[in-house]
Assembly symmetry: C2
Homo-oligomer: 305 residues x 2
Amino acid sequence: MTFELQILGSGSATPMVGRHPTAQLLAVGEGRYLIDCGEGTQLRLLEQRRRLSSLRVIFISHLHGDHYFGLFGLLSTLSLQGRQEPLTVVGPPGLELVLTTQALHSQMQPGYTITFVPVDTEAHAVVYEDALVRVSSLPMRHRIPCCGYLFEEQPRRNKLVKERLPAGLSPTELSQLAQGHDLPADPATGRPALRHADVSVPAPAPRRYAFCSDTVYQPSLAELLHGVDLLYHEATFLHDLRERAAVTFHSTARQAAELAQAAEAQRLLIGHFSSRYKQLEGHLQEAQAVFAWTALATEGLVVSV
Amino acid sequence: MTFELQILGSGSATPMVGRHPTAQLLAVGEGRYLIDCGEGTQLRLLEQRRRLSSLRVIFISHLHGDHYFGLFGLLSTLSLQGRQEPLTVVGPPGLELVLTTQALHSQMQPGYTITFVPVDTEAHAVVYEDALVRVSSLPMRHRIPCCGYLFEEQPRRNKLVKERLPAGLSPTELSQLAQGHDLPADPATGRPALRHADVSVPAPAPRRYAFCSDTVYQPSLAELLHGVDLLYHEATFLHDLRERAAVTFHSTARQAAELAQAAEAQRLLIGHFSSRYKQLEGHLQEAQAVFAWTALATEGLVVSV
């Protein structure tokens, strides 16, 4: 099953030509999940030839403009496109009021239902679940209420091993086995009872992607993130500006890498780069010196989790 | 003195790659005025190498997202850039509440003063004035309260005619004449009294630019717009869709041209093209058949008024 992340924006508060505010698209099977929605996100999706209508849920980390100022435009466009499927928007309390104030004055009445899920940004708790993913909040420490999100694939069923299956099973029997059921003995054919566990192997462990939005360095996160397949962590500054990072509740590239190492993550993506850095080699080198499997979350990048 | 318009966005409600929502930059002398501020406008300004900090006033026509969803981001960026000069935002009532709701939840406290000027969108009245321009509202008829804006250069002083000036005038006397004053006779030199009117010619008439945002076709506007140097008028549809235009309170390219002709405008710019039109030759031909001096308001276009 697809489990793929695409970076749509890698910048921070001040936009630059070629570096847009935060937005990421996560594809899990048929599900499309948008993570943050900075100004211009709908255009980034169009540029990447992604269908806006396929979005299922939008997760917003916090109410600083570079993380959600593209949300109003995207919701309007979905309505103009004739969307009828419900949409879920997950984010900090306050987001609903901001959106309804705007909708009131634009007299915009979307043709689809928007369900708001307010998140307690200080808790680690499940905030959304469907047949494909389970999503939990990750408490961030920023200047205003802010959370990250942990996306975990739903457990997959054991995989049947063809060589262990007796000959002559009917399609119904095969389907029952595939769904995890045992088969009772069949007196008609003389086939003995068949235990699902004996004819299958466990599926790989569910894959996990952690999105750590704006936050001061929090070593304690390592526990929640332990063994994650892909970690995105903000790296607004280089480490020589660690004091400025602390004051503004941001992190450095080295801190992001230290967290990835402590969490024993498989891979690390860093992003949310301050516009003071025209080139990003410094970020990459600084992070890779601590955690080798680091890449820059540059725009358009697609990573298979 | 410079009197120059730059188009930053030519699209309508649904964005397209290469066609952004409405935004225009008007330069009058040292003054920089932004007209509408669709999503992504701050990035368009950066791409055109325009300094955001030079903006003096922002005029918003109405609260449909494609005309103001870039405002929040722009105001935030100005604050992050350390702006201290006050900024004036002119627009329909409701805009202030929308912005303050957002500011509250982002805990954004801009480092500069924003003065909101609520506009009565049903009146034609002066809504802003400084030493360079006088701006009046133009009542539009759209689905929600909406107005256009008429920008008129402040009257310039008569121009002194060098050949009509007597020899031997002191710098002070020249300056007084240049400022429009008469000079009394000077007994010391025997120079007779000098009337300003006798040594000057009238300045050209003040230039005028009219921005007619979203509106159904209103022939009655011709009177307010009479003789305008440059008219921008929306042309969302081609004339075969004039019924759809009427229902959605928009105009066609032919209607824009008919208004320009009736108003005896010098030149016409059409824009706000529906995303159903991938090519715009049809709009241009349809309008030019009625009013020859029509151009498409495509992005990046600079027009000297």
